[in-house]
Amino acid sequence: MTQRPLVLLLGAAALVATSSCPRPALAENPVAESTALLASGDHDKIEAGIQGLGLAGTPDAVAPLVARIHDGLPPDLLDTAIVTLMALGQPQAGPVLFELASHRRPEIRTRALEAITAIAPKGGEDALRNGLSDGDPKVRAAAATGLGELKATDSVDVLFQALDRGNMEASTAIGKILKPGEVSRLLAYLGKIPFRSLGPAFAQLLQRKDVPERDKLALLAKLQDIGTQEVKTYLGDFLRTAGAGISQTLSRAILQAMQGIK
C-alpha cells in the first residue's frame, strides 16, 4: 500500500472518529442536505453537514465545503473540514488548501499540508516547498514529509537546504527521492551534521528498490568507515526494522559492517 491511499484512509477514519454527533441518516441527496446544514449557524449541525459531505464522498461535495471554509469556521470545525477534504481526495480542493497553508494557526497549516500531500493537487509541490520556510517546525516537518511522499524530485535542493537548517524530516524525504547517482551528495554531509540527522535518509536509500545494490554497499562501506558506536547501533536498529525488506546480501553486509565496528 502506498502512502497516499493510507493518508486518505486515515483522513476518513479521523472524520468518523472526530464525530461527536449523530451521523446524518442517509438521504436521497446527501450533498444538498449537508450543504443546507452548513448554513445553519449551529456548531453541531455544521459539523454534521461537514461529515455528511465527507460520507457522500462525491466530487460535488467539495464546493460547498470550500465555500463554508471561506465563510469562516471555528478551528475545530475547520480542522474537520480539511480532514474531510482530505478524505474526499478531490484535486479541486487544492486552491483552498493552498490558502489554508497560510492560515495563522500552525496546526491548520500543518493539516492543510497533510491534505495537500494526500490529494496531490496541481501546484501542491510549490505549497509544500513554501512550507519548508514556515516559522513553525511542525509545519516545516509536514512540508518535508509531503515532498518525500510526492516524490518531488525537483525539490531535492531545497530539501538539502532544509536539512542544513536541521529539518529532520527533510532527511527522510531526501532518502526517498534522491537519485541513486546523487547519493554521494548525501554522503558528503557525514561528519558535517549530526549523524542522527542523516540516518533517516540512509534508511530510505537502503530500502529503496530503485537504488542499485552496489550503491547500497558503497553507502554501507562509508558508514563502516565512520566506525562509531552510534553508527553500529543505527545499523542494528535498521536491520531489525527493515527485516525482509532488504536483500540477504545487504543484511549480511550490514552484519559484517557492525562486526567491523569495535
Binding site: H70, D71, P74, S102, R104, R105, L132
Partner: protein, 729 residues
C-alpha cells in the same frame, strides 16, 4: 513688594518704598533716619530706579574688555587632586592634593574651591593658595573675578531660611563682605562692580571699592540666578534663559530685550541651561559634569542673544551635539571614545576633556578636531575656560554636508552603550527631522533592528510614519517576508503600514495585502496594517480584507487579530461603501462569529443605512430643486404654456390680494351700511375694460383699486365677464 518711586523726591523719601515685606523696615528707617543710603541687599533699597540703572548700564558699556584666562581647573580620580590645565599651551600647569567638595569655580586668575568648610582661592597659573577662609555653615555657590578682584558667593538654607555672603577678595585679602537673608547666585565682576543675582528676581550692583549697592534691578518676567560677563556684555538669567542687560531692562522685563530662552524640549539627561543656584552645587564626580550644556553668549540683536558659532552644545557622556539654540536643528555630532568630564564653548569651537586626560578642541562649524592632547590627568571633572583654546590655530570652517550629519546621527543612534539611550532617542528624533530620503532608510534599519534597545526601536518606528520622503525604501522593506530557510525575518509591518499611509503611498497596497495573508506577519502589526489599507483608499484592498474577516471572524486567535478583525468593517465601508453590505450582513448573521467583530459589522451596517437615508434625502431635495429649476426654465422659455386658459374667480382673488384690505375697507365704510359689494368685471388680454359695483356708492372706492391691479393674460385671447362679490367681515 518694592516699587519704583518717581523722581523729584529727596533721596531718603525716594528710596523709601512701601512693601509688605519690609513693614518692619519702616521702623528701621526711622531709626537710621534719612541721613544714609540703605546697606547693600537691604530690603529698603529701591529697585528699578532708572537713574541708578542708567549708571549701571553706562558703566557696563564703558567697561574695558575683560581678559579671560585660558586656564581650567580639574579634579583627578582618586587620589583626589586639584590641577590646572592651560588650553592655550595645552599642558598641565600644576597639581595639588585637595579634597574638593564641589565642582571648582574659575574666577579671573584663581580657582575657587570648597574643601571641608574652608573656601580656598588658588592661583590658576601656579596652584598656590592665595587665600582661604571659613565658609562657616555655608557652601560655595558662585564666583567670578578679573585680574585683581574675585567675588565669592556662599549660601545656606532655602526659602525663608536662606542666607548668603558675598565676599570680595582683592589680591590676597578680603576687601569686604556683605550678608543677605536670601539666596545669592553666581556673581559677575566687571569694571569696579560686582553684580549679584539674588532672591530669584533681583540683581544688585555693588561698588567694588566700598561694597555699597548703587543700583538694583528687579525683573518680573524671568528668574535670576546668574550674572555673566562676556565680550564686554553683561548677561543675567537662570536655567530658564538669559537676557542681556540693556536699557530695555529698566522696565523690569528682561525678556523685552535681547533674550535667549532655554530649550523647551527636554534634552537627554535633562541638563540645565545654567546651573540652578537655588540647589547645592554638584560634586566633582556628579553626572551633571558628564551631561551638560555649554554655550558662549556673544553678540545680540534687539530681541535675541546670539551664541558663539550659533551653537548650543550638549555633551552627553561620550557624545557632543551642536544644535541651534532655538529649534535644536542639528549642526553636527561628535562621538568620543571615553566619557567627557569637561566641555566649554569658546568663540570658535568647543574644548572638551575626557576621563583619561585627553583634551580636544572641536571647530564650531564642523565639529572636526582642531587639536587634541593626551597629556591631561585622569579626571572626574575639568572646568575649562571660555577662551584660549583657539589661539594660534585655524579651525576647519567647512560645514558638514547632509550626508555626513546623517551618518553621524545614525552612528549615535546605534551606539551600544546602555547609558546612551536618551541620547540615542535624541539622535533618532534629529534623524527624523532630516529631509533626506536616506534618513528614512536609516530609521527603517533602526526600527527593525532587534538588537536595538526597545525604546530606540519604538522611536524609530514612530518616526517612520512622519516621513515625507523615502517611500521607495518603505516599499523595498515591505517586499520582504519571513522565510525560515532564507533566514529572513518580517519587516516592521505596522510601522511601515503607518508610514505608507502617511505618505499616501498606494504602491504599498499589494505589499500590505501580502502581509495580511502571511501567517508570519506578527499579529500585533495587523491592526495598523488594516487601518493603513483603509486609509490608503484603494478599493482593491476590500476583497482581501473581506476574505480575511470571513476566514477569522469565528476564530480570532489572539487579541491582536481580534482587534484587526474589528477594524475591517469600517475599513470596508470606507473603501467600497454600500458594496460592503453583503459581507457585513453575513458576519452579523453568523452566530459562530466573535461578538466584537459582529458588533462592529452591525455598526458599519447602521452607518451604511444612515448614509443611504441621507443620500435618499439628498436625492429628494435634488429632485425637487431640479423640478423647480425646470419650472423656472419652462416659465422663461415657454411662459405661454403656464398662462391660465381663462380668468376664473380664483385668478381674480389672487390678483386682488394686494388690495384686499383696501377693498374690505371700502365695504366697511359704506354709508348706508352694506354687507357686501357685487362687482362685475369685463377683462380682455389682462386689461380691465369695465368695473361695475353695487351698491353704486362704493363704485368710486372700489373701481380704482381693481383697475390698479394687473390681471394675467390668458392662453386664448378673449373678452371675459365675471361677477365677483366682496363680503364684509
Amino acid at each position: 513688594m518694592a516699587h519704583s518711586q518717581p523722581y523729584g523726591f529727596p533721596l531718603c523719601a525716594r528710596r523709601w518704598h512701601a512693601s509688605s515685606r519690609i513693614v518692619a523696615g519702616v521702623l528701621a528707617l526711622a531709626a537710621v533716619g534719612c541721613a544714609s543710603t540703605p546697606a547693600a541687599f537691604s530690603a529698603r533699597y529701591p529697585d528699578n530706579v532708572q537713574s541708578d540703572l542708567a549708571v549701571l548700564l553706562r558703566r557696563v558699556q564703558e567697561a574695558p574688555p575683560r581678559s579671560d584666562g585660558a586656564i581650567g581647573a580639574g579634579v583627578t580620580t582618586e587620589p583626589k587632586k586639584l590641577y590646572g590645565y592651560d588650553v592655550g599651551t595645552r599642558r598641565v600647569l600644576w597639581q595639588t592634593p585637595a579634597n574638593v567638595r564641589f565642582t571648582p569655580l574659575l574666577a579671573g586668575d584663581v580657582v575657587v574651591t570648597q574643601e571641608g568648610s574652608t573656601v580656598v582661592l588658588r592661583d590658576l597659573k601656579t596652584g598656590r593658595t592665595r587665600l582661604s577662609f571659613d565658609a562657616h555653615d555655608m557652601t560655595l555657590n558662585g564666583a567670578d573675578g578679573d585680574d585683581v578682584n574675585v567675588a565669592v558667593v556662599l549660601t545656606a538654607g532655602m526659602g525663608t531660611y536662606a542666607k548668603s555672603r558675598v565676599v570680595l577678595v582683592k589680591g590676597g585679602a578680603v576687601a569686604w563682605e556683605r550678608r543677605l537673608e536670601s539666596t545669592a547666585g553666581s556673581p559677575a565682576v566687571i569694571d569696579g562692580m560686582v553684580l549679584v543675582p539674588w532672591s530669584n528676581q533681583y540683581l544688585s550692583a555693588l561698588s567694588m571699592a566700598e561694597g555699597d549697592e548703587f543700583a538694583r534691578l528687579r525683573v518680573r518676567d524671568a528668574v535670576l540666578g546668574h550674572a555673566l560677563v562676556n565680550a564686554g556684555k553683561v548677561f543675567a538669567g537662570s536655567q530658564h534663559g538669559i537676557g542681556q542687560l540693556t536699557d530695555t531692562m529698566m522696565s523690569g522685563n528682561l525678556q523685552n530685550g535681547p533674550y535667549l530662552a532655554a530649550p523647551k524640549q527636554p534634552l537627554p539627561g535633562r541638563p540645565l541651561f545654567l546651573r540652578d543656584v537655588y540647589t547645592q552645587m554638584p560634586a566633582p564626580e556628579s553626572a551633571q559634569n558628564r551631561i551638560r550644556l555649554s554655550w558662549l553668549p556673544t553678540g545680540s540683536s534687539p530681541h535675541a542673544v546670539a551664541l558663539a558659532g550659533g551653537n548650543l552644545y550638549l555633551a552627553f557622556y561620550r557624545f557632543v551635539f551642536a544644535v541651534d539654540p532655538k529649534d535644536l536643528a542639528l549642526h553636527w555630532v561628535y562621538a568620543h571614545e571615553a566619557d567627557l568630564v569637561g566641555a566649554r564653548a569658546q568663540a570658535d569651537g568647543l574644548v572638551i576633556a575626557d576621563v583619561n586626560g585627553e583634551v580636544r578642541y572641536l571647530a564650531a562649524s564642523s565639529g572636526k578636531t582642531v587639536w587634541f592632547e593626551k597629556n591631561g590627568l585622569p579626571s572626574v571633572d575639568l572646568e575649562l575656560p571660555s577662551a584660549g583654546a583657539g589661539s594660534g590655530v585655524t579651525a576647519d570652517n567647512a560645514v558638514p554636508d547632509a550626508v555626513a550629519v546623517r551618518q553621524q546621527l545614525v552612528a549615535a543612534a546605534q551606539d551600544a552603550d546602555a547609558r546612551m539611550v536618551p541620547m540615542r532617542l535624541l539622535a533618532v528624533e534629529l534623524l527624523a527631522k532630516l529631509d533626506d530620503a536616506e534618513a528614512t532608510s536609516n530609521l527603517l534599519g533602526l526600527c527593525e533592528d532587534e538588537r536595538t534597545t526597545a525604546p530606540v526601536r519604538k522611536a524609530a518606528c514612530l518616526a517612520l510614519k512622519e516621513r515625507k520622503t523615502g517611500g521607495d525604501y518603505l516599499l523595498t522593506a515591505l517586499q520582504r517576508h519571513s522565510a525560515y530557510l532564507e533566514g529572513t525575518l518580517p519587516p516592521p509591518v505596522g510601522a511601515l503600514a503607518k508610514a505608507a499611509a502617511a505618505q499616501h503611498e498606494k504602491r504599498a497596497v499589494p505589499l500590505l495585502i501580502a502581509h495580511l495573508t502571511d501567517p508570519s506577519t506578527p499579529a500585533e502589526t495587523l491592526p495598523p496594517l488594516v487601518t493603513a489599507l483603509a486609509d490608503l483608499g484603494d478599493a482593491g484592498a476590500a476583497r482581501p480584507l473581506a476574505d480575511f474577516m470571513r476566514l477569522y471572524h469565528a476564530d480570532p486567535i489572539d487579541e491582536h487579530l481580534g482587534q484587526a478583525l474589528s477594524l475591517v468593517p469600517d475599513a470596508l465601508v470606507k473603501l467600497i461603501g454600500p458594496a460592503a453590505r453583503e459581507t457585513l450582513t453575513q458576519i452579523v448573521n453568523d452566530p459562530l462569529g466573535t461578538g466584537t467583530v459582529r458588533d462592529r459589522a452591525r455598526r458599519a451596517l447602521a452607518q451604511l443605512d444612515d448614509q443611504a437615508k441621507a443620500a435618499e434625502k439628498n436625492d429628494e431635495a435634488t429632485k425637487l430643486a431640479e423640478e423647480q429649476e425646470a419650472q423656472k426654465q419652462q416659465a422663461g422659455t415657454t411662459g405661454k404654456q403656464l398662462l391660465p386658459t381663462h380668468i376664473t374667480l380664483d385668478v381674480v382673488k389672487q390678483t386682488l390680494t394686494p388690495v384686499r384690505e383696501k377693498l374690505q375697507a371700502c365695504v366697511q365704510s359704506a354709508k348706508p351700511d352694506a354687507f357686501q359689494a357685487r362687482v362685475v368685471l369685463v377683462i380682455e388680454d389682462g386689461q380691465v375694460l369695465m368695473v361695475s359695483v353695487l351698491p353704486e356708492q362704493l363704485q368710486s372706492c372700489i373701481e380704482p383699486l381693481i383697475r390698479s391691479q394687473h390681471f394675467p393674460m390668458t392662453q386664448v385671447s378673449k373678452r371675459e365677464r365675471l361677477s365677483y362679490t366682496i363680503k364684509r367681515y
